[in-house]
Amino acid sequence: MTISLATPLLLLATGAPVVFLVRKRVRVAAPLTLVALVAAVALVAAAPDNASTDALALQLKLTPLGRLGALALLAILAVIVADVWLDEPAYNFFPTALGVGAVVLAVLFLTTPLATYAVLLIGLLLPVGSFTFQVHRNRSVEAAIRHFAFVSLGGTIGLAALALAASLPREQPQSTFVLLVVILYVAFALKLAVIPFHTHAALLAAEAPATALALYFGVLTPMTVIAFVQILTQSALLPSIVQLTKVQDLLLGIGGVSAIGGALLATGASDLRRLVVCCVISDLGMALVGVGTFSGPGIVGGIAIALATGASATQQLLAAGTLERRADGGPARAARAPLASAAFVAGGIGLIGAPPVVAFPGRFYVELMAYAYATWLGAALVVATVLLLIAQLRVALGLFSEGLPSWRPERRPVAGVAGALIFAALLAGGIAPDAFLRPIAAFAEDFLRALRPL
């Protein structure tokens, strides 16, 4: 019996309202959410290669990258849900997580750029509900409003650019399509919070709960990077931009500024969550540089960085949440939660892109292609990596500054165990990178074919 590709998507989409109805009974809602996510993972894993199905008149197709992205992002989502259930119960989180899971699958499987973009926009708005908490004590509402404004602005101008690009006759002056690509790029930059469009991310980092940040920076931002390259490939805009080097310079410039700016901000980060968010901004800048090189290794590296960054950011944000809760308003110290501290430090290895974790080959490819494009760009990315290393070391030393009275793990070491699971997966990917990089390479071939059609 063949299972339709729409089944896991429908399972998560219909599960979300069901879980919403029972959300206040956490002991029911949380296991239901986890079961739905695990079932969706199993269905996606079991689906045949290049399976496709039609939902109304929209085509859903399972590409190798779609499968890899779906499995990785749903697994990260399941880890976050388990952490919320066992360590930091927040009943609104579970239906949101299922909604985000459905959006992840829809974005990765849809083949119509406008539909993909519309679903992406819905997905980026879903976590707003989990950003706000204890609204009388903090500025989480202001942070959520700012996020709403940035995503709405980026989302609608991007949708408008795509609709215009599809409806204008092909005999347009080339500058028209170039302008549309630039608008589309700015739209994605707004949604990804890359510098200089990062102010809402900075406020979110300070005010939103760590698990909501993990949902956004661990699942939704990697999905947005993949959606960006998929939409560029499907929208037939690429041949217009490849002929103008100034546009490529602009794309690489924004990516490079974000890579180095995010790393600079990370070195001055005053708390754990801000450090993680700044590292993510830097890594996303690097991923955009990879895509902007319009080369096979650059695209492979860019997408690999986005996925690995999502996993490592989740690991660090969950650990940061635990460390902050156990610090009771004081500075976070490893003595209160040794395993969570270890998970935080190990997550830093992934965000820096150091070997042997799977983040390394992606970063290596992007830096290699950046050097091939321009020496200053390659040097900027290396400087960004060194700055990230300094920022992570500084915070790690601060965590362990008072030493460890005992190596005995803390009670309920949920974040520590979640971090160990994620790190093990990243390590396995680093030991056998082929399984991780091959599906991305298959997509890179499609991207290059769309860039220079015969």
């Binding site: 406008l114 708005l125 709403f148």
Partner: protein, 194 residues
Amino acid sequence: MVLLAAVALTTLVANGATRLRPTAVAFFGVSIAANVIASSATTMAQVAVLGVAGLAAAGILFVAARDSHYGEDPGWRLWVATLIAAIATPAAFASFRTVTTEVPDLAPFTSENASAVVQVAAFWLLSSGTAILVTARGAVRTSLGALLMLTGVQLLMRYAPGPQLELTIAVAWVEVVVALTGAFLIVNERAVRE
């Protein structure tokens, strides 16, 4: 021209309203005017979807207000948003319309060039929405800006090739989600203020 004026006027009313409930009603007016302008390129099924989405979005904002006094005074932002829209609309139309450089025929009541009218209305809504969003201080005007922009996007999508009804449904869902998110934030913002 009359329909374009209707879109412009309802946008100005929504932009200038100091209370959320009149803003929501004016937004529904914008939605109706936009759908009438694009009626020649819209099937009945699309009209139904768009009508329900516009009504739902306006209704959600109307209910989120909870009473007739809550809102956000635009102040000088009204004039900035209007000025930006007035400058950006012709610039966008000149940059993105069809290759022909001929001046489109815009008769008072009927138009030979429906796509040009739809594009002008779309660019007006997109630039107004952008200006409102960029200058917004709270959730009320942020929601209005986003909804106006989405109405503009719906107009532009009428001429995009592809499964029109499905794309209309997708963007209609975005409209409803934006309104729900905006309403959630409006309620929370009010709780913080009070």
